[in-house]
Subunit: 205 residues, 4 copies
């Protein structure tokens, strides 16, 4: 029994395969990627891949799982205990646009490919929904906090703000994908920040 080495090796193999699939699904889409492509890209044989994943669908879900990893935790880790609600929102905004601007087209495409695929498969949907729900809750809580402390306007619906921000982030990255011009994330971030600040924060005149 050599569990440690074996487990590590297994993890490595899984990672290699999922990475290959991630790249290809992003570039050529789910339907546009054949298992043969993944064989070539990953360097593993068909049998090996099917030994680890029951089907192309399962492999796709594994890619999804990896995607939806620790991003929320990362964000939370950037907060200080004495950040105001607005400061937190600003930080989220900056991190969001920052990561968006860093995202390769490939990763971006993959994200949409996943969402489209999922919207057609009830069986997959709950996974993605939960993901969305967590992100929305994360933002909504900050907004609720701001409203409670009087920092934000009282007539604001926290859930809607969260939906708008997440939606805008997604929509903008889709736009950045379709456009051929370099995308000015900085300017957009500043503008959105300004609007939100005046739109949400009470003291802002």
């Amino acid at each position: 029994m050599t569990p440690k080495v074996t487990a590590e090796k297994k993890k490595l193999i899984l990672d290699t395969i999922v990475s290959a699939a991630e790249t290809l699904f992003g570039n050529k889409g789910y339907h546009g990627t054949s298992m043969d492509d993944i064989v070539k890209e990953s360097g593993y044989s068909k049998g090996a891949i099917y030994g680890h994943f029951d089907s192309k669908e399962q492999l796709f879900l594994a890619v999804l799982d990896r995607q939806t990893g620790a991003s929320l935790e990362t964000m939370r880790s950037h907060f200080s205990p004495d950040d105001s609600a607005w400061t937190k929102l600003e930080k989220i905004l900056n991190m969001e646009t920052d990561s968006m601007s860093r995202l390769s087209d490939e990763q971006c495409r993959l994200s949409f490919e996943i969402q489209l695929q999922i919207s057609r498969q009830d069986s997959w949907r709950s996974k993605m929904e939960e993901q969305y729900a967590r992100a929305l809750r994360f933002i909504a809580e900050i907004v609720e906090e701001g409203i409670r402390t009087g920092e934000f306007e009282q007539d604001i619906d926290a859930e809607s703000v969260a939906a708008i921000l997440v939606g805008a982030s997604n929509g903008l990255s889709l736009y950045s994908l379709v456009t051929s011009k370099p995308f000015n994330w900085k300017k957009i971030n500043d503008t959105l920040g300004a609007i939100l600040h005046r739109g949400l924060v009470v003291s802002s005149r």
Copy 2:
């Protein structure tokens, strides 16, 4: 010589085929739709379809063309000459969320299917970009007008506002597609309106 009748007939055939394709592409995706599906849905034979469209890809582009029709003109037609910039923006917002809430999942999916497909094909991209550009310009001009007349804050970047609005609209409809809960477009519209008003309009305190 019966050019008129023939031309009309041709138009009808084209329309029928494109409509069938539109429905199917929206429901089952580009890859999930076979030409045989389209044959069944449209009632035309394969030969007839290939007589009008060189390939499945061409048919997809035809669907795209029809999609990108007159929505902008419709909006413009709802404006009065003496609407303020904000009033115009508000009208756009309302019309947007209104049409979003009316959009079937099918149409919504098709829109994303198209955008994803396009982001992979340089040759198709310009078509979509131009469409995006027109929508952005349409909104940006209104914002610029507001800035010029002093109605809106001076530190606002009109193009960015336009990108944010279009992005949010797109992103929200994608979210509505993935979520299984009924989507509250009304509340989101109100919240977005409130934020934008305070965020853009000078007199709003």
Copy 3:
């Protein structure tokens, strides 16, 4: 519309494909025969074959259908109205052994392949059972007639006689398949005839 020519042509194609499948299934078994084999043997493309049969299974069933065609009718047609029950039974026996001896190993194998396959697939079973039932009924009726008219012994169970005859016929052909020695159908027929005659017919002492 050219229905006659088309229908004839279609029939021809179907026949060609089923014949090819019949040969191959008999020689190499159901599992040992690939669709590629059938493509090669029939001369039609894969697409053409799948255009006519939904699956390999359906093709197998088509072969079964053809097999179980008109053999009973053929038998019935050899009877005279004034044949005694025993004469009929004797004719059946002779025809059976005659056709058995004429059956190629290939056809014989196919028959068993079918029965084995069917015994594993509930969905197919009813087809074969009905077939068996008709053959049994056919013989049982003759025996019942003989009993009723006093020609045959009274303590005989007609259904069992039918089962024994059909079973023996099947079992013997399986044996003839496995054995490498030439099979003496004539002698077996005579012996079985003699036994049955003494065993069934009243006057025979």
Copy 4:
């Protein structure tokens, strides 16, 4: 040196594997059973199985070998020295139908699976033939004895009677496999006994 223990262990492994294969081949057929199935059923690893059997085919032959065991000896052991030929035949008949009715579908299927497989492979055929030959000889000798002693009719061909009985037995069990109705072995046995008695035995009127 622990030759005995090792040999026993080896025998045990072989037995376990062959038993697993027997069960699976019978249930799912030769082609329907994968080596992985056998790995799971037997509890031994692939390497272990391939250490003992060169191929799936070899394993199949091993199953065949075990099948063709001591049934004839069992029968002979039920005879008394002063049994008449007819009594012996009757005993065989009863034991046959008795064991048939006890046979699981699984074992039955396996037997036919084997015979079909074998009929395609000249190299395997002699093994099966020899087995058939022994069974036929066993019965034929009894019939010959009856003829010699005047107990049976003189115009009977002993070999043919043997072939008919073995064939009927096989054919009936195949029929019992395909039919979904419970099979009445008792009635068939009685009917066959009555016919044979009148058909073979001299004194029977």
